[in-house]
């Protein structure tokens, strides 16, 4: 699919160059080396052996102005953690309707977060990676339409974006887990950013009809359905459930003082996915070509307690018998489905916080050096994991 797309784009590029349209080539790259600092720990794709590949990436963007407001853009990204296989991250056609309004169609980034659109462009922010408690979505693009409206409200700049489309793809549900098929249909969202001088604020709301294949609970849901407990089975499955995302954030860039904060809420109703809330707050200070920063992040995932104990211990069988609702009704020691279901809900609970200190040094007009030390704390197991990473980010 991507190969085909590549040849189409290259073909278009050749065609348009023969028609004297200008092709603009831009690119960016990050070379990152990192590792966890204790034996047998892993975080952000690192383990206790140094990796130069995990967060390194290389990207090229081709854009062509086709005149009269029409333009075509493709961004090809090769990530180290995907063996540098080049993939289209963005591929879209835009039409500038007027100075304020632009419509785009194709494959684009889902604008969840403040830094979503330029998540891969490390040069554009101060960390090695944006705060992962918040920036934790495994999928980040969609295919569809996007309407962008820029205007000024008095002294304020306003940018409003409306999106509509869908996403379909296999993504890992957790570190090391087998990738599962995810489908988002009727993906709709709006986000609004206002900024004035040193202050900017942003809010985003996105909904989607969400389906995620969850192979780990296939046995349990089959057993529930076997007892006719379809409601309880459906409450576990992520099958065309209402997914919603809400995020707010603001940032300050005053003199040399930087402050950023974002708060996000994610919910997929009647599914095994817990309600998730995340936030971070980050301060930074610029001293000539250096920026030093400190960030606190928090993630809290939990099911409402009323989701527990919805599966009966037993049901009435034929001839006034009582049949236990378990994996094997003939074995009195078989685990009860009630307990297994509770375990799924309780097992989804996650609480963690992360503190990152780091520095960025703009040693070249097109390149920055960064070093970040992050301490992740799992508040449930009280385990600490430290990750140290150094990076060179470039734009060209």
């Amino acid at each position: 699919m991507n190969k085909k797309l590549l040849s189409v784009v290259v073909g278009l590029a050749c065609m348009s160059s023969s028609a004297h349209a200008e092709i603009r080539i831009n690119g960016f790259a990050s070379i990152v080396a990192g590792q966890t600092l204790d034996d047998n720990t892993s975080l952000y794709g690192y383990d206790d052996d140094i990796s130069y590949k995990n967060e390194s990436m290389f990207a090229l963007q081709l854009s062509s102005d086709l005149q009269d407001g029409l333009s075509a853009t493709a961004q090809i990204v090769a990530r180290g953690n995907e063996d540098f296989d080049a993939e289209f991250e963005w591929a879209y056609v835009s039409y500038q309707i007027n100075d304020d309004l632009k419509v785009s169609g194709g494959k684009m980034r889902i604008p969840f977060y403040r830094y979503s659109d330029f998540l891969d462009v490390g040069y554009a922010y101060r960390w090695v990676r944006p705060p992962q408690s918040v920036y934790n979505f495994a999928f980040s693009t969609y295919e569809g339409l996007n309407l962008l409206h820029n205007t000024t409200l008095g002294d304020w700049d306003s940018t409003m974006q409306v999106i509509y489309g869908s996403f379909s793809g296999k993504v890992p549900s957790a570190a090391g887990a087998t990738p599962e098929q995810i489908e988002l249909n009727d993906l709709m969202g709006v986000n609004w950013t206002v900024s004035h001088d040193w202050f900017s604020a942003r809010a985003a709301y996105i909904v989607a009809d969400t389906t995620i294949n969850a192979s780990s609970i296939a046995g349990l849901t089959a057993a529930l359905n076997g007892y006719g407990l379809t409601q309880q089975a459906n409450n576990l499955l992520v099958d065309e459930d209402d997914g919603s995302f809400f995020g707010v954030g603001f940032s300050v860039d005053y003199d040399n003082f930087l402050f950023d904060a974002e708060y996000t809420q994610i919910e997929v109703t009647d599914s095994l996915l817990p309600d998730q809330t995340q936030y971070y707050a980050s301060v930074g200070y610029r001293l000539n070509d250096w920026t030093v920063h400190l960030t606190y992040e928090n993630n809290d995932d939990e099911h409402d307690s009323n989701r527990l104990n919805t599966v009966p211990v037993s049901i009435a069988g034929p001839n006034n018998t009582v049949v236990p609702v378990s994996l094997d009704p003939t074995n009195t020691n078989a685990p009860l489905l009630k307990d297994l279901t509770n375990q799924v809900y309780l097992g989804a609970k996650q609480e963690s916080s992360t503190v990152t200190v780091g520095a960025r040094y703009d040693f070249h007009p097109s390149a920055a050096f960064k070093i970040d030390l992050s301490r992740f704390n799992d508040d449930i197991t009280d385990q600490d994991i430290d990750v140290l990473a150094v990076a060179i980010d470039l734009v060209f």
């Binding site: 831009n26 990207a59 963007q61 854009s63 102005d65 100075d99 785009s104 659109d117 001293l287 000539n288």
Partner: protein, 134 residues
């Protein structure tokens, strides 16, 4: 510490003390203040007050470019580049074309009625009109 900061600031201002002239075509009768010029170079303003479509050019890595981004836009070269990389790689904007010299900017502005650029103020010629010095 404070002393160190002020010494560094002195170095920075000495480095960027070259006066920059913002120039337009002699036939362009729009007036622009520093804030409006800054907005043009940040891609926020796309048209002149009379409705003409702005054609802005910059300079590629020259001392004048550094002075301009510092004095007019109020950003360091790195910050300016980071700002534009956010827009470029998200399809939200294209930065002013970076030309290689003051003369290239003068030639562009002289031959484009809607052109705007910046040069070392000592290099200004009759072919262009200065709308501000910073």
């Amino acid at each position: 510490m404070k002393k160190l900061v002020s010494i560094c600031l002195l170095c920075v201002s000495a480095y960027t003390s070259a006066e920059v002239a913002v120039i337009v075509n002699p036939n362009n009768n729009n007036t622009l203040d520093k804030g409006m010029i800054s907005k043009i170079y940040l891609g926020k303003t796309k048209s002149y007050a009379d409705g003409g479509k702005i054609k802005a050019v910059g300079q590629k890595g020259t001392a004048v470019a550094k002075a301009f981004t510092q004095n007019v836009v109020g950003k360091s070269s790195s910050q300016f580049k980071a700002y534009w990389s956010k827009l470029i790689f998200t399809g939200k904007g294209t930065p002013p074309d970076p030309l290689s010299s003051d003369q290239a900017v003068i030639d562009f502005v002289a031959s484009n009625p809607l052109g705007i650029g910046y040069i070392d103020s000592a290099k200004v010629t009759d072919a262009v009109k200065v709308i501000g010095k910073f």
